[in-house]
Symmetry: C2
Subunit: 124 residues, 2 copies
């Protein structure tokens, strides 16, 4: 299901180590050992992160000789970016309408500040 | 911490109901009852989703008379979108480099297919 896949992508992105791994994979295919190198965590912990990224479809894992390497997969990230762009546009429209609404409210407030009582007082 | 906030935003986005709530809030401020209306889940369940969105900084919750309303907050979403755009650019560069690398490999493969043995055979 598309929605589920999107949830998995966002869930995979909700961890700083996994985000760093994705940035690192932007430099090229890497083995688990290479990916683990900058992190103060164990190889099995890195493997678990890779499994989450793989299940989200963000990476594919292949065996090259005795090494298991990870490679980026662009499509699910694009889908997530598209969804966020869609939401951003909706929100921008909302904030534009809100600005217009606030202008109307501001005008009403200014008008109310000149109440009939004020007018009468002013008239005196 | 910025990273933590980003993790919270992605985590908040990793649920289809919460994403639908964010889209609904693009139409305007809403009460819990209004937000719960389209979903087959209880009011407390919707409240829990709203709490997650609030902790991620994606919405703010205010009390208007006896109603508690939710409003969008754009900044954290923008930060998350910026991070994803950054990653997308990194990945695009990576795929461009990969394409170039594959071209080189393809050429090498073509050259290897014309091995010295082949050449000798061809020479015969």
């Amino acid at each position: 299901m598309v929605t589920d896949q999107l949830s998995k992508v966002f869930s995979a992105l909700s961890d700083p180590t996994r985000r760093d791994i994705l940035v690192r994979l932007g430099e090229g295919v890497a083995t688990v050992t290479e990916l683990a190198e900058p992190f103060p965590i164990s190889l099995p912990a890195v493997s678990r992160h890779l499994k989450v990224l793989e299940q989200a479809g963000l990476i594919s894992r292949d065996r090259q000789a005795q090494w298991r390497t990870s490679t980026l997969r662009a499509e699910p990230l694009k889908e997530a970016t598209t969804w966020m762009d869609h939401l951003s546009r909706l929100w921008d429209e909302r904030f534009d309408r809100l600005d217009a609404h606030l202008e109307v409210m501001k005008k009403q407030l200014q008008d109310n500040q000149t109440t009939p009582e004020d007018k009468e007082e002013n008239d005196d």
